[in-house]
């Protein structure tokens, strides 16, 4: 490792033989890689042997066979007669369903609590601190089991709690009023999303133009057309119905409305509250990392408090916040695999059942790893892109 101290620098001389240090380096690398390859080869040959002794087939052919496993809570159409591959896709959708909604809710709750911790109101900041400390120091799995037990202890459907009209909380889970989603509704939503993107692009264009010539341009007329006008037109044109259906109790169960199963609801609450405690700390330290001089300077300019927070403090705080926030999002996604403990069928739970049914442990676990590595990579790429966008541009 002590390069350049033992040898005189030989400048501009073509060498075809390796120096002493390079031979040592090469030797160590070959040894390490050799050991790694040997270990893998040893384990692999053992595995092949054991699999043939136990008559377990290898390969992913089982994905096409009938799964025969019931999945209670799905968004996609599924029956036990469907092949394993379909069950896995349902599991991935279930994982994403809890992870994406969990990330959004945890970010909102965590930001609110992080700001509450900085409040000048003693009681509010102290309560936020207790919340953070309590949730961070108890294992997530224990919290999940706790929430699940509480869910099961709720009254039966007939005696369900009704905090608001149309909302029922019982041991069947949370039932909410909903809008039936038909193809026409999906088109309207797609138009709205396209409108959002178009508005965003337009806003950047207008800001760039204003930067160039200093003329103020208003965004709101365009935004109104893109976000309200177009979706309304599409909705009228396709005849989408937006009537809200209220859930009703019929017999022992609910009809209509959107039902969040107790397993899903418990998992969502546990993930959101647990992760929000970590996000609160990240937001707090991010805001505290903005130097006090920035507030003073903004005050000296006579800017409004909300403007200072939005345009001066938050953009700087975000630079500190985004990297640790990314790893919290990844944690939440990985933690969603605890679903298996309460019987919510996410991709890990389905892989586990597959493993028990077929005995093909290697393939099942490889599938879990592939799914999570892909999701992690997706979140990382998105957050890195966002981080690069808001990063300080040094001149």
């Amino acid at each position: 490792m002590t390069t350049s101290t033992s040898e005189f620098p030989r400048r501009r001389r073509l060498r075809f033989s390796l120096g002493r240090q390079q031979i040592i380096d090469l030797f160590w690398q070959v040894v390490m890689v050799g050991i790694a390859v040997a270990i893998v080869a040893f384990l692999w040959s053992n595995a092949l042997h054991n699999l043939s002794v136990r008559r377990i087939s290898t390969g992913f052919a089982f994905l096409g066979r009938e799964a025969g496993m019931p999945i209670a809570d799905t968004w996609l159409a599924y029956s036990p007669k469907d092949p394993y591959i379909r069950a896995f896709i349902v599991g991935i959708v279930n994982t994403l369903r809890v992870a994406v909604i969990g990330i959004v809710l945890a970010t909102v709750l965590g930001t609110l609590i992080g700001i509450a911790r900085l409040s000048s109101n003693w009681l509010l900041s102290r309560l936020a601190a207790v919340y953070v400390e309590m949730l961070r120091d108890i294992p997530l799995l224990l919290q999940l089991l706790f929430w699940y037990v509480l869910m099961q202890g709720l009254p039966a459907a007939r005696a369900a709690w009704r905090p608001i009209e149309g909302v029922f909380l019982s041991n069947r889970g949370l039932v909410l009023p909903s809008v039936p989603i038909a193809a026409a509704n999906l088109w309207v939503i797609a138009t709205l999303v396209a409108g959002l993107i178009a508005t965003y692009v337009l806003r950047r264009r207008l800001t760039a133009l204003q930067m160039a010539d200093g003329k103020v341009r208003h965004l709101w007329p365009y935004a109104l057309i893109l976000l309200v006008g177009l979706p309304a037109l599409v909705s009228l044109g396709l005849g989408a119905s937006w009537t809200i259906t209220m859930p009703e109790l019929r017999g022992f169960n609910f009809v209509g409305g959107l039902t969040l199963a107790p397993e899903y609801f418990a998992l969502l609450i546990a993930l959101v509250t647990y992760t929000s405690a970590f996000i609160a700390e990240i937001v707090r330290s991010g805001i505290q990392a903005v130097p006090k001089g920035q507030w003073d300077a903004a005050n000296a300019l006579g800017l409004r408090r909300s403007f200072v927070l939005q345009r001066i403090v938050l953009p700087q705080a975000l630079r500190v916040i985004i990297p640790p926030l990314t790893s919290q999002y990844l944690n939440l996604t990985k933690n969603s695999s605890l679903a298996v403990a309460v019987g919510y069928q996410d991709v890990v739970s389905i892989a586990n059942t597959t493993l028990n049914q077929t005995g093909q442990a290697i393939e099942a676990i490889a599938l879990i790893m592939m799914v999570f590595l892909t999701i992690s990579l997706g979140i990382s790429l998105f957050m890195n892109w966002y981080n690069a966008r808001i990063a300080l541009v040094e001149r």
Partner: protein, 373 residues
Amino acid sequence: MTSITDAPQNPLPFHSARSRRTAGGRAIRWLRENLFASVTSSVISLLLIVLLGKALVSLMQWGYWNAIWTLPGDQTAACRSIRGLGACWAVIPEKYRFILFGTYPFDQQWRPALACLTFVALFFVSSRRSFWRKELVLVWAAALVLIGVLMWGGIFGLTYVSQDRWGGLPVTLILATFGLAFGFPLGIVVALGRRSKLPAIRSLCVLYVELIRGVPLISLLFMASVMFPLFMPDGVNIDKLLRAQIAFVLYAGAYLAEVIRGGLQAVPRGQHDAADALGLSYWKKNGLIILPQAIRHVIPPLVNTFIAFFKDTSLVLIIGIFDLLTTAKTSIIDPAWQPFSVEVYVFVALIYFAFCFAMSRYSRRLETQARPG
């Protein structure tokens, strides 16, 4: 009043000028400054006081006034009649031996209890700055041997207790402590490897860290419990607890490596150059000069990783190893006590909280102490 948690050190700067004036200690003034500083603040305070009061009253009603503390035997009828109105703490004296020590022979349970105390003493000694020297390694070795003797027995007249009868708190502490004790050196080696100049070694380390960190811990535990036997040659049969322990060591190694790597990056380039100029070998340079500085930089995040790791040991519930959480969940399978799981979970949560809270306080104290200079 400020004993529960410490106040935010630096509230939003807008208010700091106002709060600086609170040198005088009169209660009314304090209230006006901290709870009723403005209209919004007063509304929030009143709302919170009402909500908090309601919550506290119902919590006290459930947990104290209406609670039942003792019951004769398995006669849980009295508890069932007040279910939802009051807690049945009687489940704790009934089950605490099983929750803490699992199926360890009843008359021998002083041994795991002593092992747990040894662990706590070990943690305490390791947290003192004055004990941070080479001899600490010997203390650890001695303590781990002592714990092994206590748990297994078989010598000194102690009856032998096999591993599958272990359970409860000692198993949680064993998984966490051994995981860290072996994961830490592994993490150091991998962190050094990730910063190595040799491309093959660097990519091996990157592959290891990213693979472990990219997947949930559960899939590693599944691997340890289901896949591991497939990878072993015939006749080799490793105990389930040990397999989980190996998974934890690999898991801890990957996460600790990333923390230590952060510390290595914080060591100035000049330290490397100076060590090279002295003609130190690679291992001497890192062992004597770089690593001590690097680890000192990252002690607070290291403690945070320890906390996360301690909590993560509870995941062995899913592969059926009897740690503290699994014994708690198992203790309420008993039909007589089944409805009182909330009480049991609260009890276990307090144990986990005590350990994690102590560690997080410690980490915060280290952070506020003088920075390494």
